[in-house]
Assembly symmetry: C2
Homo-oligomer: 247 residues x 2
């Protein structure tokens, strides 16, 4: 594949995983072309690839948008993740010690990020746990699938998650790793299933995805100097929005 195209794809996907791009964000072809210093053709390639991966969508002659999953799609994404990640733990016969060490270190980083209050890397690390798990216990193909699904669920969380329970999630991860260390993969699998179900249960899927989310994004507090925002933001998280900085 063309390296330039792959770069664009990767940049957008990792920005989504890090929570730096909100669902519904418009991704103009020309803007991206200028930003990456390539022609529209390349950008279109990357976009179509990302569309296949379920991360962006095109609205005819209006532009490309980061997907805003419906409630139904949200359920599907979580269901799929539960199936795969439970299956992964259930299928693996034994966890090698080096994998276990890496996972424990990762969980430690999660806790550190939570305690230091680093919101940006916190969300990123919580998602990365699952990706690393797939990478360590599965294979590249599985990792790719989990990565795309995690991107989806990250976007879903931005749309439907009233309150982020980062601490609880990290605790769950800890428990899962503990079960793996005790070589009780069946328990680990069950905990993983419960963990994902819990995150899903924490969503408010009755609330329609906010059609004003994009607008709120632009008017988010961080763009002002004052710290008393006049624009209320019900439950969407503030984003650093380092993407598409020039305009």
């Amino acid at each position: 594949m063309n390296p330039a195209t792959a770069n664009i794809e990767e940049a957008i996907l990792s920005a989504i995983l890090a929570g730096r791009i909100a669902p519904g964000t418009r991704l103009g072809e020309q803007k991206l072309a200028d930003l990456f210093g390539v022609s529209r053709t390349r950008v279109r390639e990357a976009m179509m690839r990302l569309e296949t991966r379920g991360v962006v969508q095109v609205s005819a002659r209006r532009g490309w948008y980061v997907v805003e999953p419906s409630a139904e799609e949200a359920r599907e994404a979580f269901h799929t993740r539960r199936v795969i990640e439970v299956g992964l733990l259930q299928t693996v016969p034994h966890v090698p010690p080096n994998v276990l060490a890496a996972l424990k270190e990762h969980v430690a980083m999660e806790r550190a990020a939570i305690e230091s209050g680093d919101i940006g890397s916190r969300a990123c690390l919580l998602g990365d746990f699952h990706i690393h798990l797939a990478d360590a216990l599965g294979n590249r193909l599985l990792t790719e699938i989990i990565r795309d699904l995690t991107a989806r669920t990250t976007l879903i969380s931005m749309l439907y998650q009233p309150t982020e329970k980062a601490e609880e999630s990290s605790h769950d991860h800890e428990d899962i790793v503990a079960a793996m260390e005790a070589d009780d993969l069946t328990l680990a699998a069950r905990l993983m299933g419960e963990h994902i179900a819990k995150v899903e249960a924490g969503l408010d899927l009755t609330a329609k995805p906010d059609p004003l989310a994009g607008l709120r994004e632009l008017l988010s507090p961080s763009t002002f100097t004052g710290n008393t925002p006049s624009v209320p933001h019900s439950h969407t998280h503030p984003h650093s929005h380092s993407f598409g900085k020039e305009d």
Copy 2:
């Protein structure tokens, strides 16, 4: 998505699933464009989408080719399928009666195709069992994933499978459905894992994918009137090759 592009994508993917396109088949942009009555631009779109789905690959300025998975990639594909399909059965709490009925009917069709010696639909049905399962017990997202993976494993079987054990596979399917009927999903999950592992074990992954496969394809017996082919084909299956008929 553009309907024309989707058509091309779907046509190629389903042809692969049906075993009508062999791994390594060259898919020229212009030929496909003529065949579908569209411009190369559209064909390229479809190809790039299929590339992200892991079904075709582009060789720079040489053309698009249906993937010929390496031994390593073959292992990854089977591992991934095992993880997901075991996870699916393990996660589902109960199988609704109408799903059970549909699956039983499907298995009956498998047996009928095997007994009647219909090789073409036989292979197609055996793969479809897993796709239908994902569709019935999972969701659209999961079905799409399984479909792409099944396309991969179908191609792998064409490359590495010395002898097809269709009857055995169908028996396995029957046992899995029986376990589901007995509401023993844990057993069903275990049987599924063993079934996929068995298919994988039946492969000869030490044998390099035959570099002459493409050539044999062109000289395959079906293109001659006589039924004593002068070109030996070690273990690749004969294909009807209804695809790309005009030239």
